[in-house]
Amino acid sequence: MSAPVLIGYFDNEAQVLDATRAVREAGFVLHDVYTPYAVHGLDDAMGLKPSRLTWVCFGAGLLGCTLALSLQYYTSVVSWPLNVGGKPFNSFPAFIPVTFELTVLFAALATVAAFLARAKLFPGSRRSVLPRVTDDRFAIAVAPREAPSELDAAEDLMRRHGAVATDLLEEVAS
């Protein structure tokens, strides 16, 4: 893609929230918003759909739970039954601690991995970073819907909401 993207820089959280909402409500295509830390309420302002990461977490947890139970059942009942303290081979309560740990481990690792993959944060991934957005600046990236000339109006809008600088980039990785 080679459509130009307009970047508006802001100095504080309240302005970027207002500007994000205004840009979206004015009908521009919100490419992304970059902030140095997680800003409460930005999801709403951007109109983002609920994250799908929760499903990864749930699925992986379920998988971990099932694997843990089956592994313990297989090893202690099918493959190598051992009499431990006169308990039945299939001693469900004894399986619970390992099941709990594996459920949590699978869910946590899979969620982090899915997040990194989705955000393209892995070795070899080349992403341009806007200046100072990991430090003290907030940036809104707006893509034009049709003609690039729309971006003049978007620039105007962001300036009115307190943008301290704007910039036109030819391309920003999504």
Partner: protein, 398 residues
């Protein structure tokens, strides 16, 4: 922020007029319920006493839980809960009432506790060895001291908060933190003792060191549920318009978390006793896995953890007031069943017997609790205008 001036203008500084019908109904139910319990002392003494202990302790825990919730929040410098902090404060106002319901057990100690039965010390060697601790005078002294500590600290926490409304000084916010820190230490010690004394000695041969912590998890879980229910009901009645979805979301997370903490401790107690398989410990679960008690035993886990866990897992579930009301109801019933399972099977191993005395105890105490809470809500401004965290709480966003 521009919105804050509007919101602060909308903050009401008067108490909420609870509909007289609610108050009237609570008075009647409290009278009828407690009347049946008193009659029960003559007809079926053991049933009436276990019901008094189960439900009395249940609601005393809610009152105490209100104070513990406040203290935890103060000590953590939390600001999100301030908008509804008058609810746990109103719960805390029940503690003196709850203390009376527990003190009412004192004349009947010998009918309720096996170690206090006349002549038992001569025939039971194990109890004879424990006689230095398990005797009625010392039991009574411990009870009075613990209740006095709780009444004193809940009174102090409420008083400081009400003074904040008038004086609006930061110094009082600091004092809240100090009093809370001392209270939390004393609470954890005294509550452990209370759980051991009042509940565990019902089966004086048996012991479990995690028992008190497991009870604290139940206390926290049921308190968060009761706070959530009260907050939603007051919001619907128009008394707490500042309560937003983010407050509910966080309360929902706490419900989810404490239900899971309860399950963790419940299972820790069960697993170790099941694994070690020592008769003097397993006797507790043998009784509870026998006959109809087994049904109650599994239902208990479903109500206190399995159902709430599944029902509160999705994010939207924790932000939906009607859904939270349902889950809170499940957990509140579960907490009662949990206490019932601690109190009753020891003296009544044949099976579950739920009847008019159990119902009367619960309804009577619930009505008493409602009376104490509505009385406080009526006389106290709903929003703590002098709390420095109020603005943060009004803008709480998750």
């Amino acid at each position: 922020m521009s919105a804050s001036t509007h919101e602060e203008a909308a903050v009401s500084t008067s108490g909420f007029e609870v509909p007289p019908a609610v108050h009237r109904a609570a008075q009647v139910l409290a009278g009828v319920g407690l009347g049946i319990l008193v009659a029960g002392l003559a007809i079926a003494r053991e049933r009436a006493l276990t019901s008094l202990l189960t439900s009395g302790f249940y609601f005393l825990c809610l009152g105490l839980g209100g104070a513990v919730f406040l203290a935890l929040m103060y000590v953590a410098n939390a600001g999100w809960f301030t908008v509804f902090k008058r609810i746990p404060e109103a719960f805390a106002a029940y503690v003196p009432w709850g203390a009376v319901t527990i003190l009412a057990l004192l004349p009947f100690v010998s009918s309720l506790y096996p170690w206090a039965k006349p002549g038992v010390m001569e025939t039971d060697h194990l109890l004879h060895e424990k006689a230095a601790f398990l005797n009625v005078p010392f039991f009574a002294v411990r009870m009075v001291v613990m209740l006095a500590v709780w009444v004193g600290f809940t009174w102090m926490l409420r008083r400081i908060s009400l003074r904040q409304d008038a004086e609006r000084s930061l110094e009082l916010a600091g004092r809240n933190v100090k009093v809370s820190a001392v209270f939390l230490v004393l609470f954890s010690l005294t509550f452990c003792l209370a759980a051991f004394d009042w509940l565990m000695t019902l089966e004086p041969h048996w012991f479990s060191t995690i028992y008190a912590l497991y009870n604290i998890a139940g206390l926290l879980s049921s308190t968060v549920c009761a706070i959530t229910v009260t907050a939603i009901l007051l919001h619907r009645a128009g008394a707490l318009p500042q309560l937003n979805t983010s407050h509910l979301h966080d309360l929902g997370k706490l419900m989810f978390g404490f239900a899971t903490l309860w399950a963790y401790l419940w299972f820790s107690q069960f697993l170790l006793i099941w694994y070690a398989n020592i008769p003097e410990e397993t006797v507790y679960f043998v009784t509870r896995l026998h006959g109809t008690w087994a049904v109650a035993f599994y239902v208990n886990v479903a109500l206190n953890w399995a159902l709430p866990f599944v029902l509160l897992l999705p994010r939207p579930a924790k932000r939906n007031p009607s859904h939270l009301l349902r889950v809170a109801a499940i957990l509140l019933v579960g907490r009662w069943l949990d206490l019932y399972l601690m109190v009753v099977p020891g003296g009544q191993p044949d099976g579950v017997a739920l009847g008019v005395f159990e119902l009367a105890g619960f309804v009577g105490m619930a009505a008493l609790f409602t009376l104490a809470v509505t009385r406080t809500v009526r006389s106290t401004p709903m929003v703590p205008v002098g709390d420095p965290y109020l603005v943060e709480s009004l803008h709480h966003h998750t």
